[in-house]
Amino acid sequence: MGMITNVTSFGRSGLYDWLLQRTTAVVMAIYVVFVTFYLLTNPNLDYSQWLALNSHICMKVLNVLTVLSIAIHAWIGLWAVLTDYVTVRLLGPKATPLRIFFQLGMITITLVYLIWALDIVWGI
């Protein structure tokens, strides 16, 4: 029995998507907890201090990993939502072209976010 792969899923299999969704979640949680803690402990943050933090190589690595995680996590999550609700059973025969349209739109926005974010965090 061959396995049918879905052309628009990120990891091409449910198991890859499952693991990627969790590893990317952990990376983003580390970022959120760290940045929240940093902002709470530096209430009078100024530009030079904020720039110095984000110019540090460790922070650059965390920033890039977070940005990549957001893109992968959003792709997998929105794929799940779209394939659950924009379906022929719920919306009739026009659901398939509509879902493909939304999926390609979602992928396009995700890639725009990714390129914009990499430009911000790596260009410092």
Partner: protein, 125 residues
């Protein structure tokens, strides 16, 4: 899969348990966060571009409109993270029973509510 086949679950006629609300709100908050990424990137970009734009972001953060948007985004993030951590805990086999699932769902709502209130205090204090 286009054949008419019997579907037993008609969600519209079922009274949803607390776990369903945790699940659907996890999805809703995820979609909201996808839009909020644009705001987050705009703020990050402006805060790192120059001293002037950094101060402009700070200035904007003292206005009610900006504060509401930031708080709404933080609320979606707080809920989505707490519900996500519940998933990770359940992946380790904890709270997988019916009662465990219900208890976990209630705990998610309580912790998320506390974090959302704290986020409001942070934004407005």
């Amino acid at each position: 899969m286009n054949k008419k086949r019997p579907v037993n679950l008609d969600i519209g006629t079922i009274q949803l348990p607390v776990t369903s609300y945790v699940s659907i709100l996890h999805r809703v908050s995820g979609v909201v966060l996808f839009a909020a990424i644009a705001i987050f990137l705009w703020v990050l970009d402006a805060s790192l571009s120059s001293e002037e734009s950094f101060n402009a972001v700070k200035e904007c953060m003292s206005g009610t409109f900006c504060q509401l948007i930031i708080w709404a985004s933080l609320a979606a993030l707080a809920y989505h993270m707490v519900a996500g951590i519940r998933h990770l805990i359940m992946d380790f086999g904890i709270g997988e029973t019916l009662e465990g699932g219900r208890l976990g769902a209630k705990v998610v709502f309580i912790i998320a509510a506390v974090l959302i209130i704290l986020a409001g205090v942070w934004v407005w204090a």
